[in-house]
Amino acid sequence: MLNFLDIYERALKGPIMSEQDFDLKVFIPRLREVVKAYGIKYDKETPVPSDDDAADNLFHAAVDFLSQVGVYCQDTNRIIQFTRDEILEAVKEAPGQCFAGEGKDADVFDMRKPDDHKAPWLHVGSGIVASSEEAMTNLVEAYGTIAQANSISISALDNIRGIPVMAGSPAELYAAIRGIRIGREALRRAGRPGLPIMNLISTAASAVTTIAASAPQFGLRPTDGWLVGTIAEMKIDFGSMNKIAYLLSWGANVGAETSPILGGYCGGPAGTAIASTAYILVGLLIHKGNYQLTFPVHFKYGCSTSRDVLWTVSASCQATSRNIPMPVIWLGYMAAGPNTRMYFYEAAAHLLCATTSGAPSVQTPHPAKAVMIDGITPMEARFGVEMATAASRLNREKANDIVIQLLEKYESQIETPPPASRYQDCYDVVTGKPGEDYVRLYDEVKEELIRMGIPL
């Protein structure tokens, strides 16, 4: 097996070229060729396909694609290349499980298959920016209070003592440490001190801060999880590689983070599905990840709930869950925000696609494209858990029917979603309880979804 130093050596010695040449002369043409060669086709009438052979074909296409393209290192302008054998060996050796958490909240995050009735690993919460420590504490405490939560994401802070957080500055480090302490304290208050935080480090945009705030003195443990990103598409930099080298050196859980963009260099859904599948292989090969977080998004809409992205999620999730032993958290970005009916439709659609396609884990679908400060509440977290659990009782065929019905309800509004509420607009900041209107809306939508055939 290739170790990380071998990977770094390839980043120093691989073929050299400009980033633009990699995009235009390698990535795009090869992807087109592989889409064609493997006959990958998007069917807009089937957002949740049920064809296992097609899923396996997509996996083979991704292996072929990665062996032809490699991963571009922006800091050395070289391509880290892999042979087909190396890719398949990494797949064969992948453990397919990640140990996370401590004490009574320690658990094994492992694999699921399409149509699996086992509930997915429920990753709750988001790294959406919280404007105050109070709001963040309430959110994390509420996430921890959800009994089914297996792991959580904690919010990011955008200031420390009113000083704005600038990436790579000391203020970022102070804020990152503060964020971790708040997260741990809130989990203690929820009675779940051992619950793993798996979106580390949400407040850190720079590698130096991630590394600094990970010192055990500040409260993190190897059984938490660190997200280490790739750059769209098929690129990496020293920032990410430094995080990997550091985390691997002391045995921390590394979560490879990827977000293929439909409508960007990947082209349409067929190309995005190949890239999305190939990224899971990259997570094994480069990151040596023991889990992965992926969220395909639409270039134009910035969300994951358009019909073509849903198909991409279903197809690549099936390809990977059937063929790659990597525990992946499938995350979706919603166009609509909290306290809107549309959010729930989108979230339901995404969770149906991912869960029935064998997602080992799903995360709370992120409201309002994850760009609204304080734009998330524990209500979405609770809905995500209930919906994912219900979806695990369905199969792909049934999910497909329901997703089509849901798309009819929201598809035309993706570009102009309804106005949403921030945490403080629909929750009582002091008691941490939701407003009556939001509770009513939630109950109404739940009733509606039950009528559609979702066993909530």
Partner: protein
Amino acid sequence: MPSFLDFMERATTGPILSEGDFNLKILIPNVSKVVKEFDIRYDPQEPVPADDAFADRLFEAAVEFLVRTGVYCDATNRVIQLDRAEILEAVENLPEGGVFGEDRDRRLFRPRRTEDENPPWCHVGTGIVASSEEIAMAQVEGYGSVPQACSISIPAFNRVRGMPVIGGSPLEIYATVAAVQAGRKALWKCGRPGLPILNLISSATTAVGTIAGSFPAFGLRPSDGWLIDFLAEMKVNFETLNRLTFILGTGGNVGSTALPILGGYAGGAEGTALLMTAYYLLGILLFKGAYHLTGPIHFRYGCSTTRDCLWVFSVVGRATSRNTCYPDIGLGYAAAGPCTRMYFYEAAAVNLCCVVSGYGGVQTVHPAKAVIDDGVTPMEALFNVEMAYAATGMKAEQANTLVNRLLERYEERIEEAPRGKRYQECYDLETGKPSEEYTRLHDEVKEELTQMGVAFRF
């Protein structure tokens, strides 16, 4: 006293100006004005002055200079301003020394006074690059075997598995961890596992390397010491400040580090002495340091053993030891390399200036300007300790005479100093013993210095 976060706020809200304007419109004019106003004058005949009034005036001048100038943050293009009261309050509230190391090797690093009878804190070794782990371990084992060593510096690694270490790359993290672990292993082998390493992290040129290598499982402890540099002159950047935030946050010992350049923005010896003194104040106030590492470097020669640099060492040591209790280590760079007679003369001169002028500690004078890989051996470490003890309790007048005589022996050759030998050329790698030639040279020089009036204690 302002917290570090308060200073970070000033770094984002202080007066904004370009780096060029800071250098040309603030720094350089303020150095000239303050030197004139406080009548700071360099006397080449007196490399070890004994004038206490002058020393106190230099300290006052440094406070005034700092109040007028501040520190430039080149990441935000703003000046972090400081006021007189907070500077003096920080100096006033300094504890009398700091504790470093663990177990049997845990010691109190006390400040010293001029002509102090107590021997200085002997900081042994260098961060000069070692070309292999084997050589690095042999060097560190040699340093740890010097009984008077209170703390050590470990070598830097510049290659991993044959690949060159690029600053800020993952390989820097590997190199950093490997160097720390080799250092600890060597200290364990020589029976000094608790000896503090005070030049962390020598293999890391970036904040990311420093911070990653400080993960406790890799072997470092808060009782070690992390060197955090000012940028020449009177500047900091986010690399500096991030290291500082991290080390302060983890409770580690911060070693503020200032190597002002004589012949650069500081101007001549007077301006360099002014800046070097001002850096002490910044180390105390801004960096919240536990110790300070300092020495002037000559812009043209790249060493600290010219006559004017030696004067700077002496006057700054006298000014700061009389007016602060910040534990400081004087660090000199010699022009000549290991296994040369000239190196010993230069090292002797630096030790005489530093020990007599009241530095709390002295470090092994770095051979060959610290630029030759493997260019240091335990013999230099041993000689510096011998020399530091010999200079202890000596009067400034006597030291001045000796330094003048030493300068006569090497001053003219600074520009063409002999490069000397690398570790493997004058030490046996297997036994860790010096060659006969080097032992003979060491003994001869000691004999010569004894005849000059240096009373070696061992």
